[in-house]
């Protein structure tokens, strides 16, 4: 009798497992709201877009605007900065991907894919270091691009990572030109 009970699952075994399974599902269902409450709330998700007048930005000047709590730099690059970025061979880049929100995810990191389409002097970028999130300083470092003071990442004039611990090029946000002097970020 005892032996057959061990082999043959009883109705009691079934109830035991079924109760446990229902309990586990219920527990998971209760835990999820406690985890998900920490994700960005509706107000943070209401993806704000920002319009910026760029008419007054002279060659060699930048402005920084805040978008989604992060600084976005808009730079009117000098001819030397553009040619330095164009001349850099792709094989020298640590991160060969453009990281441009306006282009396909696998676009290569050429200067044309980083700058504004058809307006190579205009350069729009989320100015956040891809290492640990500091704000690199403009027109500094070995490539006269950006230099991050936190742990020494060096970016070129197209915001591409060249040296230091950062793994990726700085991100290009989604943006568009509303007119020649106005852009919309986001």
């Amino acid at each position: 009798m005892a032996q057959s009970a061990a082999v043959e699952p009883t109705r009691r075994d079934f109830l035991y497992i079924a109760t446990g399974a229902v309990g586990a599902v219920g527990l998971a269902a209760v835990v999820w709201p406690f985890i998900d409450q920490m994700n960005p709330d509706a107000s943070a998700l209401a993806l704000a877009s920002t319009e910026v007048d760029i008419g007054s930005i002279q060659t060699g000047e930048s402005v920084t605007v805040k978008w989604r709590g992060k600084p976005v730099v808009i730079r009117n690059r000098t001819a030397e900065e553009v040619s330095a970025a164009k001349d850099a061979p792709l094989s020298e880049l640590k991160d060969p991907i453009a990281r441009n929100g306006n282009l396909p995810a696998d676009a290569p990191a050429t200067d044309a894919n980083r700058a504004a389409t058809g307006k190579e002097n205009w350069f729009v970028m989320v100015n956040v270091c891809t290492h640990l999130g500091c704000i690199p300083l403009g027109q500094q470092g070995e490539y006269s691009g950006w230099f991050c003071p936190c742990h020494g990442s060096v970016y070129d004039t197209a915001g591409r990572i060249r040296k230091g611990p950062a793994p990726e090029n700085m991100a290009i946000p989604v943006y568009s030109f509303l007119s020649d002097t106005k852009i919309k970020i986001g």
Binding site: I35, M38, N39, P40, D41, A44, T64, K66, R68, G69, K70, P71, H131, L132, G133, C134, I135, P149, C150, H151, G152, G164, P165, A166, P167
Partner: protein, 422 residues
């Protein structure tokens, strides 16, 4: 926590209570008659000092909360209000801010004490791991507390540390946004850090109880590392160790007060008196001093994921020490080689701390790489091998013999008036 109790209250009310909740007996057996090795030195007073500091942080923290506002646009000014307007607010805040530093000074001494005297070895492995859990919780608490005044270092420290998780492949980005509750460190982040900063010290208190419980099963280790063999090796906790601990604590408090009253901002950073600005990173970001050795390890690795793995690995390896050290002898006093490697390790840890505060360039980077390699070499190579090759010095036959010498031990063994019987 210390076996059966000899507690016998005479007062009828206490008797009545004890029969229903025997807490008096628990305290009596744990902190009055508990037998401690008679040869404990002052390095053993830091446990009591740590318990005191936890209570001090909770007491000052609870009253700070009565005046602090956890909101990104109000937090900085509320802390300034504590400093300028609240009665004795400056004192309470300086006690809390410097208290955190003193807490870490004590915990580092306590940990190095354990490493020197082999207090992590059989049968105290669980005790050691519980201590490491406390250390982790303390680091989380200190980190989140530093964010609350919402100065520049608060903000950028929080940004850099939370971004560590973005190094995790695939889900890293999602985890960071989940931690932030937004797309950057902001009000949502401050609020949750405040909630957790209030919670974690009470979790620490819980683990401290387990830590003391685990301590009272084998009892304290001692400077010889030799186990207690009989009653004459020990003295009752009260008055011998209550008084010794109190004296150590008072000396420690003098140092604490010296910082609070004469150098209250020495261990902080001037940039934290500038309100958080998400658009400007300070020229030179440094975490609180107690994270610097780990920060140096993070920065020494020229890869993001690699740096994060090494930094967490540097803490993880401490958990494994009981199983990495193969020597049967506990105390470094009887391990001529380990004793030297121990002091080299202390120098390396302090050196890493110094490098963590230096700018991440040139010779500093090279030096941090060398010391980082040595840090891991100490735990992963030296500790396991040393136990196999080192020839330990002869151990004393007992704790009493180590204190009184060979002849005397034999005499007191038979003497009826051993101190603990008085």
């Amino acid at each position: 926590m210390a076996g059966h109790s000899t507690y016998n209250p005479q007062n009828p009310l206490l008797k009545w209570f004890e029969a229903r909740l025997p807490i008096g007996g628990l305290i009596h057996s744990s902190f009055i008659v508990f037998p401690n090795p008679r040869n404990l030195n002052y390095w053993w007073t830091f446990g009591g000092i740590l318990a005191f500091m936890l209570v001090a942080q909770i007491a000052t923290g609870v009253v700070l909360v009565m005046h602090y506002t956890p909101h990104a646009s109000l937090a900085f000014n509320s802390v300034e209000g504590i400093m300028r307007d609240v009665n004795y607010g400056w004192l309470l805040r300086y006690l809390h801010a410097n208290g955190a530093s003193m807490f870490f000074i004590a915990v580092y001494i306590h940990i190095f004490r354990g490493l020197y005297y082999g207090s992590y070895k059989n049968p105290r492995e669980v005790l050691w791991v519980l201590g490491m859990i406390i250390f982790l919780l303390m680091m989380a608490t200190g980190f989140m507390g530093y964010v609350l005044p919402w100065g520049q270092m608060s903000f950028w420290g929080a940004t850099v540390i939370t971004n560590l998780f973005s190094a995790i492949p695939l889900v890293g980005e999602k985890i960071v946004i989940w931690l932030w509750g937004g797309f950057s460190v902001d009000n949502a982040t401050l609020n949750r850090f405040f909630s957790l900063h209030y919670l974690l010290p009470f979790m620490i208190a819980g683990v401290v109880i387990l830590h003391i419980w685990a301590l009272h099963i084998p009892g304290s280790n001692n400077p010889t590392g030799v186990s207690v063999k009989d009653k004459q090796d020990t003295l009752p906790f009260h008055p011998y160790f209550t008084v010794k601990d109190a004296f150590g604590l008072v000396c420690f408090l003098i140092l604490y007060c010296w910082f609070v009253f004469y150098l209250p901002n020495y261990m902080g950073h001037a940039d934290n008196y500038i309100e958080a600005n998400p658009l400007v990173t300070p020229a030179h970001i440094v975490p609180e001093w107690y994270f610097l050795p780990f920060y140096a390890i993070l920065r020494s690795i020229p890869s993001k994921l690699g740096g994060v793995i090494c930094m967490f690995g540097a803490i993880a390896v401490l958990f494994a020490v009981p199983w990495l050290d193969t020597s049967k002898v506990r105390s470094a006093n009887f391990r001529p080689l380990y004793r030297q490697f121990f002091w080299i390790f202390v120098a390396v840890a302090i050196g890493l701390g110094y490098l963590g505060s230096a700018p991440p360039e040139g010779g500093y980077v090279i030096a941090s790489r060398i010391l980082t390699v040595y840090y891991f070499f100490h735990f992963l190579v030296i500790l396991p091998l040393l136990g196999l090759f080192e020839k330990p010095l002869p151990l004393p036959a007992s704790i009493t013999e180590s204190v009184l010498g060979k002849g005397a031990a034999a005499v007191t063994a038979g003497a009826p008036s051993a101190p603990q019987t008085k």
